[in-house]
């Protein structure tokens, strides 16, 4: 019964997502939705390593940037189609994740966040200064949208319209959710939860914690690269700022405020916080101060974010009724 109801809810949700573009005629709102999808993939990728394996990775924005630049450059400099550049970009990002994860994940406690923060800053400067390849501070322009897909007898799908990009991003969000959901609900996911809970105990129980952390980090950076690659092609231009620490920080904010260690939390955070950020644009650099305040208040009053808060409230109501 419960399973049936869940399936029904999911079906309705998918239907709503599919028909949204038929009702939203204003391109701007559709654009916001595409961006939400990209931030959802990013937030879910960060949540995998942070919320499940318990490793505070402060370079996720940088991996987003690596995926974006790799996909963009493969299209522009190598003339590859988006459909080849995107998977290659993701693989490259994941490879860099794997290689950098090997030394950094060996550390315990506060060293991993510090190590990843330094890594993020170092890679940002490489992107910002490597003029010949990345265009340096000027950025990268004129990146193509995904090539049209030809379906025999049915016609072609072009990605020039915002609506078509909306469907593409929705599809990738769907894939991301399925893969991450399967991973965390499996026995392998239990190992990640064990690592988050107590690494010594996990090892005493025969879990190869280093191996699992590295695999988790590699998958996590793969999806950050995916979000970045789609971003590059959709926006058509990239700035070094896209790989900046601030991007990592915004992702962290989405995850923490939505609800770390859940799937729905980062999705909620990734939908609503960018909207807020849009409203706060007039603040310029001061925006970061507001973000910092929001983060501190969340950690203080809603340690498990909006989702955690709702759960606690529901549990309380349930208890009251029970008495």
């Amino acid at each position: 019964m419960d399973k049936k109801r869940k399936a029904l809810c999911l079906g309705v949700l998918i239907l709503i997502i599919l028909i949204i573009p038929l009702f939203i005629k204003d391109e701007y709102y559709l654009h916001i939705l595409v961006m939400s999808g990209i931030w959802i993939i990013s937030a879910l990728s960060l949540n995998l390593i942070l919320g499940y394996a318990g490793q505070l990775n402060l370079a996720q924005g940088t991996f987003f940037g690596i995926g974006a630049y790799a996909t963009g450059l493969l299209m522009q400099k190598m003339g590859l189609s988006f459909w080849a550049a995107l998977p290659l970009g993701c693989l490259l990002t994941a490879t860099i994740g794997f290689v950098t994860g090997l030394p950094t994940l060996r550390t315990r406690g506060h060293y991993f966040p510090i190590a990843t923060m330094c890594l993020g800053i170092a890679i940002y400067y490489v992107i910002a200064r490597w003029d010949d390849v990345t265009g340096g501070a000027r950025g990268l322009f004129g990146l193509p949208r995904p090539d049209p897909i030809v379906i025999p007898f049915l016609g072609t799908i072009s990605f020039e319209s915002t609506a078509s990009c909306y469907y593409l991003v929705s599809f990738l969000v769907f894939i991301t959710i399925v893969v991450i959901h399967r991973l965390i609900t499996s026995l392998s996911g239990k190992r990640l939860i064990a690592i988050r809970g107590n690494e010594d105990l996990a090892q005493a129980l025969g879990i190869n914690t280093m191996r699992d952390k590295v695999i988790c980090f590699t998958i996590s950076t793969f999806f950050a690269g995916l979000a970045g690659g789609v971003f590059a092609s959709y926006m058509g231009s990239l700035m070094a700022e896209n790989a900046h620490f601030v991007t990592s920080f915004e992702m962290l904010l989405n995850v923490m405020i939505g609800g770390v260690g859940t799937i729905i939390g980062p999705i909620i955070g990734a939908i609503f916080l960018p909207l807020l950020s849009e409203e706060l644009h007039f603040l310029g650099g001061w925006r970061l101060v507001v973000y910092g305040l929001i983060l501190i208040l969340t950690i203080r009053f809603l340690p498990f974010g909006i989702v955690g808060g709702i759960r606690t409230a529901l549990a309380k109501r349930h208890d009251k009724r029970g008495v």
Binding site: S188, A202, Q203, A204, I207
Partner: protein
């Protein structure tokens, strides 16, 4: 098959200038309850940490089922068949009893990430096997009614039981228990003693660190007494209890004085 399951040969451990373990050798027989006693700081926990690979010995060798294990990583040693508890009760506090025991299963520690994401059947089969085993362990350790309780809110005695259950969950041949009665109420002590005996009766070997002398003398097949990292004596309980060095260094204030 060897008669003994674990052999420690000339083990020495320095922490800087401190000699925590000083040239200690002993063998544990298959199927016995072997206890290690000694005053605070004698090096008992350090011995466990070396056997399970958490800290490297300065000198000496450790053999498990005839295989040299010093130099292996903790997870490798666990997979060979040594389970352990920690002196400070260590659990996955934010998870339920059942989730804790599920994490400890063999299927859990080895199931490949690739199959977790891609397969349907293998995933379901391993998962249901592991869950079934976790239920069985929960019943075995006497926490059947607490399966869905979060570890953090269990009473202290039940937490100790769960930590033993975790050490047991991967189905090891040798189980190292570091003060399983530490801080446990009188009425819960008997339950844990019964549990330890029950584990032995399952054919497992137990190495026990414990301060409660009455219990140690009753339950052990043999006892090793340590003091300042040195082996004082290793013998049957009644022999150890009457050893003068042991009485002087340890039992003097804890046991002999009372009796």
């Amino acid at each position: 098959m060897d008669e003994y399951i674990l052999e420690v040969r000339n083990l020495t451990k320095y922490f800087g200038g401190l000699k925590a373990i000083d040239n200690v050798s002993f063998k544990i027989n298959r199927g016995e309850i072997y206890s290690i006693i000694g005053p605070n700081g004698a090096g008992k926990t350090t011995l466990f940490n070396m056997i399970t690979g958490f800290i490297p010995p300065t000198e000496g060798e450790i053999f498990f089922q005839g295989q040299k294990i010093n130099g292996l990583k903790p997870y490798q040693i666990a997979r060979l068949g040594i389970g352990r508890t920690f002196q400070l009760t260590t659990l996955f506090m934010q998870n339920t009893v059942l989730e804790n025991l599920l994490i400890g299963q063999k299927q859990t520690r080895e199931f490949p990430v690739f199959h977790s994401i891609m397969s349907v059947k293998r995933r379901r089969v391993s998962q249901s096997e592991a869950v079934e085993r976790a239920h069985a362990v929960a019943e075995f350790i006497g926490l059947g009614t607490f399966k869905n309780t979060m570890a953090a809110i269990l009473p202290h005695g039940a937490q100790k039981q769960l930590s033993i259950g975790l050490a047991l969950s991967g189905d090891p041949d040798l189980i190292l228990l570091d003060e399983p009665l530490g801080g446990v109420d009188m009425d819960e002590i008997d339950m844990i003693i019964e549990l330890i005996k029950k584990i032995r009766d399952e054919g497992k070997t137990i190495c026990l660190i414990e301060h409660k002398m009455r219990v140690v003398m009753n339950i052990s097949d043999r006892i090793l007494a340590l003091s300042y990292g040195k082996k004082l004596v290793e013998d049957l309980p009644e022999v150890v209890a009457s050893n003068e060095d042991v009485i002087a260094s340890y039992l003097g204030d804890r046991y002999a004085a009372r009796g």
